[in-house]
């Protein structure tokens, strides 16, 4: 391991790694298929060919190319090929099917338009599904078939790529109306790979990884495609859907490759607990697994402990768990808990945490004890600060164990959002990136308690409440603009429960039951997630601020302590109040429809 860090571009890293013919990428296909292995020398050649093919389409340095490629190998080589041609790749997730195509097309079109991509590379099958996207995105000149590009034998024409050049655009799953393109430079990548591999994981040449993570997501792409190129480690990729279908395949590959590093969100470990049968444990050996990273969604210590207990008998060590905090706006990694130490759990007074914003330590098993998992300290040359959300210039850092918004500074932080000065300005406060996450720092370690952005995370995917609310609002009988969607972990579940509270003039009884079904159906159909509960209430019952803004956190609190159901018609007698609330909420609806809402499907 080098003691002095000297940043390199990804292009340089690909060329440097090409000396190795022993290490590389292995791609596992769907069940029973081939398992091609590309050495680092082979990766260099395959990416050069892809770069040449992209150049032959007329793409030049700085142009954007959108990639919708469900096959891992296709995606990797198209992505790396674009980098070598100086072209900026824009990864877009492939359609998952199951009746959400309209929403998918809408989102894809937004990303293609916003990135200004000249070419979109995809498979023949997805190309058919995309239909008219090309005619609807004026800057998109061509939709290219990946098979055709692979068959081309074009020489890569050398392009100068520097550390300050843009490496790629990472579109985050923002509210559907405005997907945000995080701009990452080669310097961002080099810095973040350095903190991940050298400082965080203390990676060695013997390390090798297994990943089923989607490659259009930062954890899969930067953590398992790019970082191992810089460090010349081998990686085995599994298709994400194969993992979701047969979670045992993940552990089988860990065992077979004697892999030392793998990552997954909390739900992945819970899924293994739930779905892997005892018979599937036979012959597994997980004793080489030294880093089991957990990130991308709230970490629940009991899920991970259950995993360690279950798979301990095939050699898994609880000490392998590394709790990670990260986000696309900071390239990928923000902080890791120390390797080899296992989970760091802070037991704090749950009531003081939420009501007073203080993380007061209590003994484990104390009545109000709430476990919060620690994600380690900030990396060298990077800062994590805690500020009041109202502190617009980040002037007054909050003290030890005081809960506030986490903000970041350092060389991994993005420049901004692609072509969106306004969003970029809103993302920073006095030079610090506002994460939207709520947490505290104790003895140098960062603890995440929740999110101020109110994102609902189910199985590692982010859902914006505004999107759920918009879909519910369109259902006949729902008072427009009077819908609040939120996630709750109460009562304890291994995933967030999705709740939709709404106001209606439909009287209590059968009509409301029908309405509940209609809302559930509309939201599930549009967004493809399970709605756990729909709570219809009378007009004026949902809590609003004096300016008519719906209070989501307050509604969640009322729901969790049971008061929301008790209040379903509490204000029935107070007609004046109700009229005032109605007026306020209509304003809120129009604001959402005009400024923040999603467009209707054309």
């Amino acid at each position: 391991m080098s003691s002095v860090f000297s940043p390199r571009t990804v292009v340089q890293a690909i060329e440097d790694a090409a000396k190795s013919t022993q290490t590389g990428y292995r791609f596992i296909g769907e069940e029973g298929g081939a398992e091609p292995f590309f050495s680092h020398a082979g990766i260099e050649r395959a990416s050069a060919r892809f770069g040449g093919a992209l150049q032959s389409l007329g793409l030049q340095k700085g142009d954007r190319v959108a990639l919708i490629l469900p096959d891992n190998a296709d995606f990797v080589f198209a992505f790396l090929g674009a980098l070598r041609a100086g072209v900026i790749p824009v990864p877009i997730y492939p359609p998952t099917g199951l009746g959400k195509l309209a929403g998918y097309l809408d989102n894809t079109l937004h990303i293609v338009e916003r990135s200004g991509a000249k070419v979109l590379v995809t498979s023949a099958e997805i190309r058919r599904l995309l239909g008219t996207v090309q005619s609807r995105a004026p800057e998109l000149e061509k939709v290219a078939d990946v098979e055709t590009l692979k068959a081309l034998r074009e020489e890569l024409k050398p392009v100068q790529v520097g550390l300050d050049d843009i490496c790629f655009l990472q579109f985050t799953s923002g509210s559907t109306s405005r997907p945000k393109g995080v701009v990452l430079t080669h310097a961002n990548i080099a810095e973040n790979v350095h903190v991940i591999m050298d400082l965080g994981l203390k990676a060695q040449s013997f390390d090798n990884g297994v990943s089923w993570l989607p490659l259009y997501h930062d954890m899969g792409l930067i953590g398992f495609v790019l970082a191992p190129l810089f460090h010349v480690n081998s990686i085995t990729f599994l298709p994400p859907l194969l993992f979701l279908k047969r979670p045992a395949r993940w552990l089988e590959q860990m065992s077979r490759q004697k892999a030392t590093i793998s990552f997954g969100p909390n739900f992945a470990y819970a899924l293994c607990n739930k779905r892997i049968k005892d018979s599937e444990l036979e012959g597994l050996d997980l004793s080489s697994w030294r880093v089991a990273g957990c990130g991308a969604e709230p970490i629940r210590a009991e899920n991970l402990r259950a995993f360690a207990e279950r798979f301990g008998r095939v050699g898994f060590s609880e000490k392998a768990f590394v709790a990670c905090y990260g986000m696309a706006e900071s390239t990928l990694a923000v902080s890791f808990s120390p390797v080899g130490k296992g989970l760091l759990v802070d037991q704090v007074d749950g009531q003081a945490l939420w009501s007073a914003g203080k993380a007061e330590p209590v003994g484990e098993g104390a009545e109000r004890a709430a476990p919060v998992v620690g994600c380690g300290p900030a990396f060298d040359r990077h800062d994590i600060g805690v500020f009041a959300e109202s502190d617009a210039e980040s002037l007054t850092p909050l003290g030890e164990r005081t809960v506030g918004e986490l903000r970041l500074r350092g060389p991994s932080v993005m420049r901004g959002y692609w072509n969106d000065a306004e969003l970029t300005r809103e993302a920073f406060a006095g030079g610090w990136l506002k994460t939207g996450d709520i947490g505290y720092i104790a003895e140098g370690n960062v603890y995440i308690c929740g999110r101020s952005k109110e994102v609902i995370i189910v199985n590692g995917r982010n859902y914006y409440p505004q999107d759920l609310e918009w879909e519910a609002s369109r259902v006949e009988g729902v008072r427009k603009g009077n819908v609040i969607a939120f996630g709750t972990m109460k009562p304890t579940h291994d995933r967030e429960r999705v709740i939709i509270a709404l106001e209606t003039s439909v009287p209590e009884g059968e009509g409301r039951e029908t309405l509940k079904g209609d809302v559930r159906k509309a939201v599930q159909q549009a967004l493809g997630l399970t709605v756990d509960d729909v709570v219809p209430v009378d007009a004026g019952v949902l809590p609003k601020t004096s300016s008519g803004k719906l209070q989501r956190a307050k509604t969640r609190e009322l729901y969790e302590n049971g008061d929301l159901l008790a209040r379903t018609s509490i204000r029935r007698s107070d007609k004046v109040e109700v009229v005032k609330e109605v007026v306020k909420s209509q304003i809120g609806y129009f604001r959402h429809a005009i400024l923040g809402g999603r467009k209707d499907q054309p």
Partner: protein, 88 residues
């Protein structure tokens, strides 16, 4: 073993049942996502169960053509038929 369309339909409903809230009616026209509330993770679990039950491989691409319980049954019978394991 040889399957009939009727038995495939019954078996599909049995496999879906644990994924659906107790009071939800399951019929051939039920939409997996909209009516039954099965999310992308649940769908993959269902696919694994179907593959085990019918000793079939269901490729990921096939999922894009599936919306309803009836579509699931059809996807299964088509594959069984291709393998000569469906009694007409």
């Amino acid at each position: 073993m040889t399957w009939t369309r009727e038995r495939v339909r019954e078996e599909v409903i049995q496999i879906l049942k644990p994924h659906v809230q107790a009071d939800t009616a399951l019929s051939e026209t039920s939409h997996l996502v909209a009516d039954l509330g099965i999310d992308s993770l649940g769908v993959m679990e269902v696919v694994a169960d179907l593959e085990d039950k019918f000793k079939l491989h269901i490729p990921d691409d096939a999922l894009r053509e599936v919306d309803t319980v009836g579509d699931v049954a059809k996807a299964i019978t088509t594959r069984l038929q291709n393998e000569g394991r469906l009694a007409e």
